[in-house]
């Protein structure tokens, strides 16, 4: 800037005394050629050494990298032990092994020996095919659902939300539930599977009749509504029936579940349960009805205001006290309830974001064509809002996926819980054991979470283009 200033003033001074004031007398001095900004050198000059300060920063960060990266590579790869039978393979001379005393690196054979437990927990060996089959079903259903270009989305979603959970439940736990009725007093009919179905039938009839009466009272045609309700109850009955059938699978207690599979079970169940709850809460929060919106606000803000670990403590310590005498929940189920309620609050806020992002015209348009509240929500608002919030849902899932590690604090043996448990086995006890397993765990979590966040960004870009 100062250069330009001085040049203009100089020009003025030079031309001041001359006759032809605004005609330049001599050639403008050639400007230096622009710095080469293509090629490797140019790129480096532009991005790394554009100024003294920048050069210093570059050199400093390169120095930091020089200090850390080779150490990490040595720890993870080159210095690491890759085979062995027990702790002696990874022990230094002072610890009774053969490695030099200043050796510090990963002990991978330990992870290899425990890999099965890290993945499946203590699930019985003979039944592992059931877990594998569940995982295969999960990924086979999930991958096409995540690819927007593939057809059959509706069938896919029905599979993932309807068929898969039931199948997974039966496969993992063994199914064969005992139902012994819940409605009629024992005096009328002794508890048995038959009584359950009788009870179920009675309840279904009452519900159908109620729906019919309501329709009648509002001057609507009761037939379609009653048929729909009956179909819904029929599907529920089918689901319950499949769960109660004895497929000859050995029952596997949830005590034996664990490892990465349990992490997946908690995260997936949590998100699947949280989505509908979250949608209802989001609608409730935007409702005109004061009681509904007040309840939703209190519910959402309560769960968002407390840490997940206290929620888990509550569900593991306090929930049993709130249940009727003699009713107990499985430890895993209690954790699942806590996780689902917790994430439904976050999900509600995500969905609310989507609802608010829709232009008001959409709501007004829906009303203008004569749709009632639930119709407009189902047909106009939700399909658009949910599409907008797909990245938000994925991000909530990433958060939930990471948060599942907290269940290890209340004694469930998820991936991290299993890893901590393996530290108490003296077969592989060395000072590097903890770090090795944590690095492995971190790597797995990073792969999954990073992958999901890339997917979320990809969806965001895709949705952006279609909206603007």
């Amino acid at each position: 800037m100062s250069g330009i200033d001085s040049q203009t003033s100089m020009n003025r001074a030079e031309t001041g005394g001359l006759e032809v004031a605004y005609v330049r007398q001599e050639l403008v001095p050639a400007i230096a050629p622009p710095i080469n900004d293509s090629g490797v050198i140019g790129w480096m000059r532009k991005n790394l050494f554009s100024s003294i300060f920048n050069t210093a920063l570059t050199l400093f960060s390169l120095y930091i990298l020089y200090l850390t990266v080779p150490g990490i590579i040595k720890w993870v790869l080159t210095d690491a032990v890759w085979s062995g039978e027990d702790r002696l393979a990874c022990a230094t001379i002072a610890q009774g092994g053969a490695l030099p005393d200043d050796w510090k690196a990963a002990c991978w054979p330990y992870v290899g020996a425990y890999l099965k437990q890290f993945i499946y927990g203590r699930y019985p060996d003979a039944e592992l095919w059931r877990v594998n089959l569940t995982l295969v079903m999960f990924f086979v259903g999930l991958v096409p659902m995540l690819m927007p270009s593939l057809p059959f989305k509706r069938e896919n979603i029905i599979f993932m939300l309807g068929v898969f959970p039931v199948a997974a439940f039966v496969l993992l736990s063994g199914g064969n539930l005992d139902f012994n009725g819940f409605l009629l007093p024992d005096a009328i009919m002794a508890p048995s599977e038959l009584k359950f179905w009788v009870d179920f039938l009675i309840v279904s009839l009452i519900i159908c009749a109620g729906v019919g009466a309501y329709m009648n009272a509002t001057d609507s045609d009761p037939k379609p509504a009653v048929i729909l309700t009956a179909i819904a109850m029929g599907i529920l009955a089918l689901v319950l029936f499949v769960m109660s059938v004895d497929f000859g699978l050995t029952p596997v207690e949830t005590d034996l579940w664990g490892g990465f599979v349990m992490t997946l079970v908690i995260a997936v169940t949590g998100i699947v349960a949280a989505l509908p709850l979250g949608i209802l809460l989001a609608l409730g929060r935007r409702s005109d009805m004061p009681a509904v919106s007040l309840f939703s606000v209190i519910f959402i803000e309560f769960w968002r205001g407390v840490p997940l670990i206290t929620v888990l403590f509550m569900s593991s310590v306090m929930l049993p006290l709130f249940l009727p005498d003699g009713v107990t929940f499985d430890k895993l189920l209690r954790a699942l309830i806590g996780v689902a309620l917790f994430s439904s609050a976050y999900m509600a806020e995500v969905v609310r974001g989507g609802l608010q992002a829709l232009p008001k015209g959409q709501y007004e348009g829906a009303m203008a064509v004569g749709l009632n509240y639930w119709q407009s929500m189902r047909l106009i608002i939700m399909p658009q809002a949910l599409k907008i919030v797909i990245p938000g849902i994925v991000n909530t899932f990433i958060g939930l996926f990471k948060d599942t590690t907290l269940v290890s604090i209340i004694g469930l043996l998820d991936f991290l819980g299993m890893i901590n448990l393996s530290h108490s086995d003296s077969t592989w006890a060395t000072p590097v054991q903890a770090m090795t397993s944590y690095v492995f765990c971190a790597f797995v979590f990073f792969l999954f979470c990073f992958g999901m966040s890339r997917y979320s960004i990809y969806m965001e870009d895709r949705l952006n283009t279609s909206h603007r």
């Binding site: 064969n176 819940f182 593991s316 009727p324 003699g326 107990t328 929940f329």
Partner: protein, 338 residues
């Protein structure tokens, strides 16, 4: 699991109405076909799972004894590993039928938690373990030390009392899980590891170099460990209590799992009563008359259980000491079966 899900389905419908339906524990246990037993998350000698998930230990054997008494089959037990924190809630809420998890009998626990202690199956006391190279010979030299212990246990309270009354400075580091305490002590986070003396011997096996550590002579507390049941169900309370007493009586009378069958033919009226040849003691407890026979036959008498799990021939190598029969100068004393 099965019952859980049934309950889940009906829970909303039931949440108000089911207040009245409270069956006796023994009937529940008979109906579901197994005893749900709350145990530790892994304490060698007391309740510890092997790699195949089979549980062994003194506390486990008590549960097996109860199952033998109820079903005549010691294998009809399911185990719920519980942390120190969860254990009482799990029992209160009915998640487990009996808590057999090296739990110290104290007045507070007995009176305010709605629980009953059904006897003492191991007389313990709190001790200290230190590294040998510290050169500490007595707990009184521990001023300024860091002490690792389990949170939510009586040991945490005892150590505070002990250090305060002896005017010693200390730093307490309290972890949730026993394994974490051991790991922290092993890593040098603490100078001292304190828990029940039996626990010290058991956990020492998990250290990198067990031989580098020594247990100090001081025993600073009384820790009577025993099974716990819910208050207000006297029938079940009696059954658990007498399961333990049957084992002690059996040892006193010389009945072992090996000779239980031939002892049935014994002339000694006391033996006859224990083994159900005479009297109707089983019916009074609500189980079969051969309940004690089943316990001894399938699980063993107290001495066998002790020796098998923690005795001199096990890695723990604990001597009978205070846990010897009263006839041998110990504290194990059972009321007679008559």
């Amino acid at each position: 699991m099965k019952n859980t899900i049934v309950s889940t389905l009906g829970v909303v419908a039931l949440s108000v109405s089911a207040l009245s339906a409270s069956a006796a524990t023994l009937d529940d246990v008979k109906a579901k076909g197994f005893v749900q037993c709350g145990v530790s998350q892994g304490l060698p000698g007391f309740s510890n799972p092997d790699s195949a998930g089979n549980w062994t230990g003194i506390d486990v054997d008590l549960c097996r004894g109860v199952a033998a008494a109820v079903f005549g089959d010691a294998t009809k037990v399911k185990y719920t590993p519980l942390s120190a924190k969860e254990r009482f809630t799990a029992l209160q809420s009915g998640e487990v039928d009996v808590l057999s998890r090296n739990t110290t009998w104290t007045a507070t626990r007995d009176t305010t938690l709605g629980l009953n202690f059904a006897g003492v199956n191991y007389y313990d006391g709190q001790g200290f373990m230190v590294r040998k190279d510290l050169g500490v010979k007595s707990a009184l030299e521990l001023s300024g030390a860091s002490v690792c212990t389990n949170t939510g246990t009586t040991t945490e309270l005892n150590v505070a009392d002990y250090f305060a009354s002896n005017k010693l400075e200390y730093e307490i580091v309290a972890f949730e899980k026993a394994d974490e305490v051991v790991a922290a002590y092993d890593a040098g986070r603490c100078d001292v590891y304190t828990t029940d003396a039996s626990g010290l011997y058991a956990q020492r096996l998990k250290l990198t170099n067990p031989a580098d550590h020594t247990v100090l002579p001081e025993i600073i507390s009384k820790e009577p460990l025993g099974p716990v049941v819910r208050q207000g169900d006297d029938q079940w309370f009696n059954l658990v209590k007498w399961t333990h007493y049957a084992m002690v009586n059996a040892e006193e009378l010389g009945i072992t799992s090996a000779n239980a069958d031939e002892m049935k033919g014994s002339e000694n009226p006391a033996i006859k009563r224990v083994l159900g040849v005479d009297g109707e003691f089983g019916a009074a407890l609500g189980v079969g008359n051969d309940w004690a026979y089943n316990i001894v036959k399938q699980v063993g008498n107290y001495g066998e259980v002790f020796n098998r799990n923690v005795g001199p021939d096990t890695p723990l190598a604990i001597s009978r000491g205070t846990n010897a029969l009263w006839t041998n100068g110990g504290l194990q004393y059972a009321p007679p079966i008559r």
